[in-house]
């Protein structure tokens, strides 16, 4: 059973890179360009098994997105990993407090990405 992962990042390059890594590892991937788009997808019935979200995005950034997504009934328990850079310790802590499961530090290598996802997502 392949798990569905929602990738939220405003950079098409980053999305493409993550999507390729995830699909190679057998995951299904949905993508969104910012928090607003991601919320639209989630409200529209997309039910990911895990969400990967960037922090710095236009319209709705990752912090607000995590907060809003957690408030959706179907996403109370969904693992959410924040994509951060090494200098964003404060953002990581904030994300964690608001309901992120963990974080990844960009640039994310394919094998690291999969390793972390396996760590937080049972049955993978």
């Amino acid at each position: 059973m392949s798990k569905l992962i929602l990738v939220v990042d405003d950079s098409a390059t980053m999305v493409m890179s993550l999507k390729a890594s995830l699909e190679m590892a057998g995951f299904k991937v949905e993508t969104a360009g910012d928090g607003v788009q991601a919320m639209t997808k989630l409200k529209g019935g997309v039910k990911p098994d895990l969400i990967l979200t960037d922090i710095n995005m236009p319209n709705m950034g990752g912090i607000d997105f995590i907060r809003n997504a957690r408030a959706l009934p179907g996403l109370r328990f969904t693992p959410i990993l924040a994509l951060t850079t090494e200098s964003q310790q404060a953002k990581r802590d904030e994300a964690k407090k608001l309901g992120a499961t963990g974080w990844l530090v960009k640039p994310v290598g394919g094998s690291d990405l999969i390793k972390v996802i396996r760590q937080v997502l049972p049955g993978t």
């Binding site: 059973m1 392949s2 798990k3 569905l4 405003d10 950079s11 098409a12 390059t13 980053m14 493409m16 890179s17 390729a20 299904k28 949905e30 997808k41 529209g44 019935g45 997309v46 039910k47 895990l50 960037d54 710095n56 995005m57 236009p58 957690r70 109370r76 328990f77 969904t78 693992p79 959410i80 850079t85 090494e86 200098s87 310790q89 964690k96 309901g99 992120a100 499961t101 963990g102 974080w103 530090v105 960009k106 640039p107 760590q119 937080v120 049972p122 049955g123």
Partner: protein
């Protein structure tokens, strides 16, 4: 090219463009925090993306730029022009790298190592800016101010030399003894306690999953931190678990594993001291045989015995069987001792001896069965390593084939997911389509128009050659239908090709800023109507002329602040670029409030350069004089500056605009400023041409250029100054014979009334008559520029295929005359 790299480059260019725009906007509004955040985000994202590739030079510069932006955003250093200059330079450097990478062949980005020194220099400049400013800003220690990008570090905890957190845990005695022995042998183990926070499930965590990934514990305990309420009141999602385990692992690995919840775990390496201290601590109560044993002690005891039973049940007879049997006996002995049943151990030694002698576990089995009947068939797995062979730990790990955490697929579930994913396949609103595909559509619709145009011919033939009028009418009716569809289709494709003028305009803020700085002028750029659209070809053709015009304005039009002040104008000059659509034309107006064009100076210059004679010098109106700047070889600048000079004058601009059927209009008032108005077609894909005949051939003339067609009696033609002319509605029109222009050796043919067909064209506000043999219908054609060696024939605008399959040459009146 590798699609990811391709994506990176194309997105990178967009980012650089936006970064440049934001920087300029910030110069206007340095306090705009939304703008600042946006700028930071762009730089930050671009840096993140560059990290996906091996581009150390690019990443280095972007990293430094990001840090600088971070400091600006936090208000640690002010945003000003030198800082903007520095960032712009950094972005130019990145743009250079992107261009270089884009041009390199192959899938992998090429090495940009030859830029290493530039990257180093830029990086240092940015960093020094950061440090100098930080220091001068508030005198703070720069080392403190610089964001030091703290390396990802496992949380402290493991290595802290704090007093042991290891509570006196009720380790079963055999395990304790075993651990001590294995520690002596150089093994390393960790004790771990993990108390997930109550809301942890609402953060997507699964503590059980976390624990399972740590491998088999040597000992474990799992209990609740509080008593469970009655079931009806239980909140399953308030996590109250406490995990404890002794694991064959290192503190480093645990720190890494629990990096997201460092405050919820405690762990420390197991030492002999801890183990023996724990023994001492509970030695008393454990040895009092009247003590009621805890359920756990009972359970552990059962587990140990069961494990021994399992070992005894092994059917192989390895060389170390003796050792194994002794180990079992030792474990049994310790187990019974730990629950206060030492007295029962007596018979154990003889049983062991018997077992060793017979090389069979049966005597020990019998001893065990007598004292502890097998409780249940289930398999318990208590720590059972006391079996001599150190390799047993490995054997205890799940075998590769064992279905540990690989979830067997549930077909129903997977179908659900599959459908779910497809259902939600929402298409993006905008598509990026390769230009080639649009061009192909264009060509196809072109062919469609041509094919469609064959129908009226066919109708004509049906009627004239085959005499079937009815059919001819039907064909015409059908033609009407196809014609309408083709037109709509053409329109739709045109729409796809439409691009906003912002594609050209977007470069101006930076261009104006840079040139104005260089010239020491102060300029406010105002742009409007950036979303006005026109065909891609038109927009692209507009780029160079517009840049040239803007440069001219900055260079020759707008004055220095001092000169402006002296003239009673504001120091800051104003340059506006406005675009708007008017019916089927796009109008672009470039206006400055500079010194304007002095007609007298133009007259003098034109005269000096031999462009006009003395008579014209007197006669030319001011407006006509001003228009002389469009004459070939005219340059108004007193000195050729490095910006707009070099002999490329307004004539080049005008010709470039004319090539896409555009026109240009120049107005200027001395001291007040100059306005250039460009008028361009929305689209150049379809051209309406009039077909004319001359010397037995058909030619096309763009209708844009045709003012009217008239028949002129030969008797009305006069020769003035060796030029044939005629009067048309009170206006003197010079006449030129098309055959002469095209160097065709034939006289123009008049009609039966001895009237000549004259095509009146307008070129630069002048009317001119071109004598042809006959004027025919007008048609829509897809004009294709002449290619190959024919491309040099500027007299022709291009060629088109007609409905009957013949080729029509379309001439360009301006160039022809």
């Amino acid at each position: 090219m590798n699609p990811l790299l391709d994506q990176f480059l194309s997105e990178g260019r967009d980012f650089l463009q936006s970064i440049g725009e934001r920087l300029l906007q910030l110069e206007e509004a340095p306090g705009d925090s939304a703008l600042m955040n946006e700028l930071f985000r762009l730089v930050h994202t671009l840096k993140g993306n560059s990290g996906l590739f091996d581009l150390p030079e690019m990443t280095r510069v972007l990293h430094a730029a990001e840090d600088l932006m971070d400091a600006v955003r936090d208000g640690r250093i002010p945003f000003d022009r030198p800082l903007a200059d520095c960032l712009l330079e950094a972005m130019d450097f990145v743009a250079t790298l992107i261009d270089e990478i884009a041009e390199a062949p192959g899938d992998a980005p090429p090495s940009t190592a030859h830029h290493a020194s530039d990257a180093l220099r830029l990086g240092e400049t940015l960093r020094s800016l950061l440090q100098d400013r930080a220091r001068s800003a508030d005198g703070a220690d720069p080392a403190e101010e610089e964001p030091p990008a703290p390396p990802e570090r496992p949380e402290a905890g493991a290595s802290d030399a704090r007093p042991s957190a290891l509570d006196p845990i009720d380790l079963p005695e055999p395990l304790r003894a075993d651990l001590i022995r294995r520690l002596e042998a150089g093994g390393s183990f960790c004790w771990l306690r993990y108390e997930p926070e109550e809301e942890c499930f609402f953060k997507g965590e699964d503590p059980v999953h976390q624990m399972l990934q740590l491998g088999d514990p040597l000992w474990c305990r799992l209990e609740s931190r509080e008593d469970w309420p009655p079931l009806a009141e239980l909140d399953a999602y308030r996590c109250l678990l406490r995990f404890e385990a002794i694991l064959d692992t290192t503190p480093e690995r645990l720190a890494e594993h629990f990096r997201y919840v460092p405050d919820q775990v405690r762990f420390e390496p197991l030492s002999q001291e801890i183990l023996t201290a724990a023994t001492a601590a509970e030695g008393g109560p454990a040895s009092t045989s009247d003590r009621a044993f805890s359920a756990e002690a009972e359970w552990s005891f059962d587990l140990v015995l069961e494990a021994q039973r399992e070992i005894l049940a092994l059917s192989d007879t390895p060389p170390w069987l003796d050792g194994r049997l002794r180990a079992v006996a030792a474990s049994l002995s310790a187990a019974f001792a730990s629950v206060g049943r030492e007295s029962e151990i007596e018979g154990l030694e003889p049983a062991l001896q018997a077992a060793i002698e017979t090389r069979s576990p049966t005597p020990l089995f019998a001893w065990l069965a007598a004292r502890h009947p097998q409780p249940h068939a289930g398999r318990a797995t208590a720590p059972d390593d006391d079996t001599g062979g150190g390799s047993d730990r490995i054997a205890a790990a799940p075998a590769p084939g064992e279905p540990t955490s690989i979830s067997s697929s549930d077909p129903e579930e997977s179908i659900r997911f599959g459908r779910r994913a497809e259902d939600q396949l929402t298409s993006p609103r905008t598509l990026k389509v390769d230009q080639v595909k649009i061009d192909r559509l264009m060509n196809l619709i072109g062919e469609m128009v041509v094919a469609k145009n064959a129908l009226p011919y066919l109708a004509g033939r049906a009627e004239e050659v085959f005499g079937v009028r009815e059919l001819a009418r039907e064909i015409k009716a059908q033609y009407g239908v196809i014609n309408r569809i083709a037109e709509e289709m053409q329109d739709a494709i045109m729409q796809v090709r439409m691009m906003p003028v912002s594609f050209v305009f977007q470069r101006f803020p930076r261009l104006v800023r840079d040139i104005a700085h260089k010239l020491g002028k102060e300029v406010r750029l105002v742009m409007e109507g950036e979303s006005t659209e026109a065909d891609k070809n038109i927009i692209e053709a507009l780029a160079d002329p517009l840049v040239h015009i803007v440069r001219n304005s900055l260079d020759h039009g707008l004055e220095t602040p001092e000169a402006r002040q002296a003239a009673g104008k504001p120091r800051e000059g104003r340059l506006s670029i406005l675009a708007r659509q008017e019916s089927d034309r796009v109008l672009i107006e470039i206006a400055d409030d500079g010194s304007g064009i002095d007609p007298d100076r133009i007259r003098r210059k034109a005269y000096e350069r031999g462009l006009i004679d003395e008579a014209e010098l007197e006669r030319l109106t001011d407006q006509e004089a001003i228009n002389l700047v469009f004459a070939a070889g005219f340059s108004t600048a007193e000195q050729v500056s490095d910006l707009s000079g070099r002999g490329v004058g307004m004539d080049v601009v005008r010709n470039a605009i004319a090539r896409v059927n555009g026109s240009i209009d120049l107005r200027s008032q001395v001291g007040r400023g100059t306005t250039l108005r460009l008028s361009l077609p929305l689209s150049m894909a379809v051209t309406n041409v009039m077909i004319v005949e001359s010397a037995g051939q058909r030619f096309g003339v763009p209708m844009d250029a045709v003012a009217e067609t008239v028949r002129v009696a030969r008797s009305d033609i006069r020769t003035i100054k060796r030029r044939r002319t005629t009067m048309l509605r009170g206006r003197l029109i010079p006449l030129l014979a098309l055959n002469d222009l095209l160097a065709l050796d034939a006289e123009q043919i008049a009609n039966d009334d001895d009237e000549l067909a004259v095509l009146v064209v307008r070129v630069d506000q002048e009317y001119l008559g071109i004598v042809v043999d006959d004027c025919r219908e007008t048609i829509d054609i897809i004009l294709k520029p002449l290619a190959g060696f024919l491309g040099g024939l500027t007299g022709y605008a291009g060629s088109a295929l007609l409905g009957d399959g013949s080729v029509l040459l379309v001439f360009n009146p301006r160039e022809l005359i």
